[in-house]
């Protein structure tokens, strides 16, 4: 069965993420996705209620998220956000998620979850090697 919406909690599970802020929004649904290191692209994307996956760690990822009504921000490749980014995320209650996966792997995991939402029950570590 195909699915086009997942919750933030499901997203975190799929990408083995660590939630830094916005704990109260775990059951919100994610309708769209954007994966890029180019915030200009996100601003021109014309979508809202989306998960922003990025390798950037600066405060602008959260400002962009706020401006464009993103529902959460994921920093990939085990990078640490800058302190100003963390404090802005906490202040605005935007879920900020850290993942050790690469951008490609994180996207694959999410893609798989959307294709086969029941597969997630098996747990995510069976995707090693992607």
């Amino acid at each position: 069965m195909k699915k086009d919406k997942i919750t933030i909690a499901e997203l975190i599970q799929a990408i083995e993420g660590e939630l830094i802020s916005g704990e109260d929004k775990l059951d919100r649904t994610v309708e769209n996705f954007g994966a890029t290191d180019l915030l200009s692209d996100v601003l021109a994307m014309g979508k809202s209620n989306y998960a922003l996956l990025t390798g950037l760690t600066n405060v602008q990822i959260l400002r962009t998220a706020e401006i464009t009504n993103a529902c959460c921000v994921v920093i990939v490749r085990n990078k640490q956000p800058q302190p100003a980014a963390v404090s802005l995320a906490k202040r605005n209650g935007i879920p900020l998620i850290l993942s050790r996966l690469t951008m490609f792997d994180a996207c694959c995991r999410i893609g798989r979850l959307l294709e086969n939402p029941d597969g997630r029950i098996e747990g995510s570590p069976n995707t090693a090697g992607t």
Partner: protein
């Protein structure tokens, strides 16, 4: 009051993490090769009033000579020797991408006067030198800029009470840390007025792109947002230098932004076209004498726009 002080301390603390060594360091390093004599180093120190000179061979840091080393050289009579033999090797360095908090900790712990800055961790390629004073003055500048910014927001909220619907923000050149603060503030005002989320979003994007443009490309300027009954008008004016080829600047993908801006996730040449597509009406004028002026209008009442379209 206690809360305000706490906020100030937290702000400085955050800045210390945000500011990187390469932003504050001195790039014009005066250095000598290890074949130079102690005498040459001494003369260099005397001329430039330095108390330490890095020794660099083929761009890589080999050691450092301090004023103490020179005094000892005079004392023991080897002032004409080459420095290679007498310099301090295994100098403590700091990679340029480290935050100044690390540099500050090193200064505190070892009481050095300066730390040589290397290109990356694990390399010896010298790219600059940093002193405690460099860090302090940069920090003061930043704190000052932020204070000014908050003053603007405060005056703004005062204006808000008196005028009701005109908001003006000063935008400072190169101040990336505050980019988007004005736009997020505007966004909150619009949300409070119960304007449809999608329209608020388009206006916020225009403001944010505008803010970024002024910060990246201009000498500074301001943004004025007028909220009227059925539309929002955004006017962005900068002090120059102006856009040489406006037609080209409106092409998606055309950019003059540098590597630093791109590394922050901006400068892809999508800003102006994106502003245009988010706006219902968009006009731009630019002169190499006076700068650039942009006016964007977004209708906040959906049917108004539809009527407009039917007419045309």
């Amino acid at each position: 009051m206690a809360e305000l002080k706490d906020r100030q301390i937290r702000l400085v603390h955050e800045l210390m993490y945000q500011i990187k060594v390469h932003q504050v360091m001195n790039r014009n390093v005066v250095s000598l090769p290890s074949t130079a004599t102690m005498r040459e180093v001494q003369l260099c120190m005397k001329e430039k009033k330095f108390s330490g000179v890095p020794i660099v061979d083929n761009g890589n840091l080999a050691g450092i000579i301090s004023i103490d080393d020179i005094i000892t050289a005079f004392d023991h009579g080897y002032i004409e020797d080459q420095v290679g033999k007498h310099m301090t090797k295994n100098v403590m360095t700091i990679p340029q991408n480290y935050s100044v908090i690390t540099a500050t900790n090193i200064f505190k712990k070892y009481h050095f006067g300066r730390i040589p800055v290397v290109k990356a961790a694990g390399t010896q390629e010298l790219v600059g030198i940093v002193t405690y004073g460099d860090i302090l003055s940069h920090l003061l500048m930043q704190v000052n800029a932020i204070a000014e910014h908050f003053e603007t927001i405060e005056t703004l909220s005062k204006r808000d009470q008196s005028q009701g619907n005109v908001y003006r923000f000063e935008i400072v050149q190169d101040n990336f840390d505050l980019a988007g603060v004005a736009s997020t503030t505007i966004k909150k005002y619009l949300q409070d007025r119960k304007i449809l989320p999608d329209i608020v979003r388009r206006i916020a994007i225009i403001c944010y792109e505008a803010e970024m443009n002024v910060i990246i490309h201009s000498l500074g300027g301001y943004m004025e947002v007028q909220i009227q009954d059925d539309l929002v008008k955004i006017v962005i004016v900068d002090e120059g230098p102006g856009i040489p080829d406006l037609e080209k600047a409106m092409e998606p993908g055309f950019t003059t932004a540098n590597e630093k801006i791109r590394s922050l996730g901006f400068g892809a040449g999508l800003g102006l076209p994106n502003m245009k597509s988010c706006a219902d009406k968009f006009s731009i004028r630019s002169s190499m004498e006076t700068g650039t002026e942009i006016e964007a209008i977004v209708y906040t009442v959906e049917h108004h726009k539809d009527l407009d379209k039917k007419k045309t």
